[in-house]
């Protein structure tokens, strides 16, 4: 069981997953986003090879309206 925080919410995964899988599961694969794990930015090219570990704190951001 892998327990992580994504955008401040607790999420649990039954098996080991990679970041690409997490992004797909949130339907974000075609959206312009950026991801941090434990305050380190993960480049898009590394999503598949980045494994999610228990205790990871993940931030997924997007562009929204602002001045």
């Amino acid at each position: 069981m892998i327990s992580v925080q994504i955008n401040g919410e607790e999420k649990v995964f039954a098996t080991e997953v990679n970041l690409e899988w997490v992004i797909d599961s949130l339907s974000l694969q075609n959206k312009k986003i950026a991801v941090e794990i434990n305050e380190q930015i993960i480049p898009r090219s590394e999503y598949t090879k980045t494994l999610i570990k228990s205790g990871d704190s993940i931030e997924i951001v997007a562009a929204v309206g602002g001045g």
């Binding site: 955008n7 949130l26 974000l28 898009r44 951001v61 997007a62 562009a63 309206g65 602002g66 001045g67």
Partner: protein, 262 residues
Amino acid sequence: MDNLKIGNSEYSSRLIVGTGKYKNFEQTKTAILASQAEIVTVAIRRTNLGQNPSEPNLLDFISPKEFTILPNTAGCYNAEDAVRTLRLARELLDGHTLVKLEVLGDPKTLFPDVSETILAATELVKDGFEVMVYTSDDPIIAKKLEDIGCVAIMPLASLIGSGMGILNPWNLEIIIANSDIPVIVDAGVGTASDAVIAMELGCDAVLMNTAIAHAQDPEKMASAMRLAVLSGRQAFLAGRMKKNIYSASPSSPERGLIARKT
């Protein structure tokens, strides 16, 4: 061509607009198109995790392919958060380095914390960003930010979202005279005349959000602002007449008057 030059890029529009405070994405797009702005600001926030696949993002409406998207650091109160936010923005925008830095000091007035702004600007310039920096209208701070390597100085005209217009044109003039990089009024523009005045003073561009988004008719105001920026710029380039304080000079000739002189 009287293009706006920021960093290594050139733009034909001297009006920069924000994407916040609109009713919906459609209204945002309509207003931006009416403004003919080429650079638009966005904020960076946590994505909604409950998102369904068909729910559109802002960038589905305002595409990075059609516009220069300028990420901001709205809501950041220290240098560390601002730098972190812009590094994420750079990743999100596929390596795009033109950014708007704002580090706030106080949630009520949204006045910039210039000490933290200087720290953030230093870090960001070192990391290869082209920093357009929101700041107070303090000419010394403006020069410091320019010396650090920012690509544009963006002094406030008045408080963000206040619509109070240009409160201190004198400071703005000093900043413009001292600056070798573009000076862009950011914050406080309320209506078209504010934008005209900014451009007449010699600003290189004007950035606004609330003035358009909270107008009764945002599309019409966006269009007014486009004209205002063009008009103010043309007046500046034309070189205004001298002000004659306390003295008048008639526009009609003295010779040949039929009226008896008193």
